[in-house]
């Protein structure tokens, strides 16, 4: 079992679709582990959040990044490449969460050192199951690096 911590997990959700973001938030609300979901709508904001730039100067360091691939301005692949090349943030696990199940996208994501690749399910129950599984593995079973 992972660490017992008092503070909630900080999760950065990079998602341009407000509906998906809300669904995820809802799903994370239903799990036992306390989580703080930080949502940014594009790749540029995702990087500014991570590097605490501009209005994100006081943003927390996320414990986990949930990254959609198709994003406005700077897409998920670019964000992934940037994160995994940056010494200060590359240890943060990145879970690619996307509607695409194309082999090309999967190859690209793992090639850029994504920590896992999950397809967004259509069915709500399955969606909730995915979130629960993420909780079980990443938030409970796995040890995560200290900020």
């Amino acid at each position: 079992m992972g660490t017992n911590r008092i503070t909630p997990f900080e999760i950065l959700l990079v998602e341009d679709n407000a509906g998906d973001a809300r669904l995820l938030k809802e799903a994370f609300r239903d799990i036992d582990t306390p989580c703080n979901i930080n949502v940014v709508k594009d790749g540029v904001d995702a990087l500014r959040f991570l590097y605490r730039q501009d209005e994100f100067f006081s943003s927390p360091r996320p414990d986990l990044i949930l990254l959609d691939l198709n994003l406005p301005r700077k897409d998920g692949r670019e964000v992934l490449a940037d994160v995994k090349q940056n010494e200060s943030v590359k240890s943060i696990p990145v879970i690619v969460l996307t509607t695409s199940s194309s082999e090309k996208d999967i190859q690209t994501a793992y090639g850029l050192y994504a920590n896992s690749y999950i397809k967004k399910p259509v069915d709500l129950d399955e969606f909730e199951h995915v979130v629960k599984t993420i909780e079980q593995f990443w938030l409970k079973l796995a040890f995560l690096p200290e900020g």
Binding site: G19, D20, L23, K120, V122
Partner: protein, 593 residues
Amino acid sequence: MAIGISGLRGRLVLLVLFAVIPALGVLLFTAFSEIRYEMDRALKDAHRFARYAAEHNNSAMNGTKHLLLGLSKIPQIRDMDAPACEKIFTDLIDVYPSYENILLVDASGSIVCSGRPLTITRIPTNTEWFTKAVSEGSFYFGSYRLGLVTGATEFSLSFPVEDNGAVKSVLSTTFNLSWFRAIAAGSQLPEGTTLTVLDSSGKILAMYPDAGDWIGKSIGRSKAVEMMQNNNDGMFRAIGLDGEKRLFGFTTMTGQGTNLRLMVGIPEKLAMEPVKKVFFYIGVWIVFSTIVLITAWVAGSLFALNKINRLVNVTKELSTGNLSIRTGIRSGRGDLGQLARAFDSMAEALQERDRELEAQTEELERSNEELEQFAYIASHDLQEPLRMISSYTQLLAKRYKDQLDNDANEFINYAVDGANRMQVLINDLLSYSRVGTKGEDFSHVDLNSVLEAVKANLKGVIEETGAVIKYSKLPTVMADNSQMIQLFQNLIGNAVKFRREGVTPEIEITSKKEGNLFRFVVKDNGIGIDKKYLDRIFVIFQRLHTKEEFPGTGIGLAICKKIVERHGGEISVESAEGKGSDFTFTLQGKGRE
């Protein structure tokens, strides 16, 4: 570049040879006829001359005989009047140089008078011509011999002068062979012609031109000598004493006691003089032919081979894909010039086609990319709103289930079901479009392994329905392995799915080789298909049953058709409703049976 007899240059030269050789043959034939004719003529000449000379000799003998007879009647000679007799003899010798000498000898052997001064006064009493003349009382022809005094060939002729039946004296003349020099010199025979007198043993008695060394020697034994001994006259060809080839004619000199042969030899090369002209023509012809051959060789290069070589090289270049190459031969009205120009326009057309093809390929690649893009959009962008509809209606139902009535729940179910079906349709459409764009390269695919994979994939339904799948050894084909699995899985899956109520599904797969193709039949004992729908079942999203009876979007057979067509085959169906269906399709049989 080397061109053998099969090459154009070789053939050209061969053609020239065909034209030249018969003419050469005619010339050679003429030459050989000419040689034979000339040889024959020379032999005849030699023979004729030999006979003529022999005739001359014979008449000389007869003349001498008459001379001696005449002399014996002269009173001064009968009376042995020495001075008068000597005068007669001397005059005779002066007129006839053939007479070496004329003698009158008395019965005792004393010389009465002589045509030439002699150192002796009497002859040996055993001298043949003397004893014979005395004893036989008639003419005596002596044989040729080498004269003791002159060293030349001579012979003696003697006649007894009788008085009242007793031999008083003997008249004798010595005859030399100088006569035939005169004949030979006066003849029209070619220079170098020889005259030879031989005795029966082959000893040379006289020769013209003079060959002193040979006189008295034997020419030895040879076929020619043998022939002369056995025949009175004839002709032959032999090498003369001087080592030169001659054509000989011979005959017998008669009128003497001995059997002499007179032989005339004409040098062959002289006889062949007229033939030289023909050989000269042959020589000229050979030189001419050689020049023609060389011209054909060179002209072949200049006028034809260069162009042909160019054509060959350009063809090779073209075949390696260099479509911009041209022969560049613009001149020449001949066949080759026309060929070259036709070739160039062909290359031009090819290049044009290539450009069109390239443009089409680019267009195709672009449209493929667009299709890819569409497929991606369909899988990602179209599904996202669907997920929203589906997820939020479900969330609504979940969060507010206590506040909603049955109607609301039913409506929500329809909305979710619709969204889910839309999702499936999009995925099916995606698979359908990917048959063409996402195919793997063809390889040798063993359809027996494909069937094993399909049975494994369908294990659930097969066990559940107790379906029996029968097939004998299937061939190996050149195909996309995963699409083969998809094809057989769709067909077998359909056969199991559309089974008759209460009937165990039986599926039989057979294959037959037809030329380059393999024809496959997947036969089932299912519900079959109404004839009026047969032509519709391969169309995408065509369904013959409600989704309550048989679930599915109607994509399976459309995908099957697309896969078979991608593999260069055709698919069709025959069916009897309520009995079963036969799906028949062909695949290109590039593989092994």
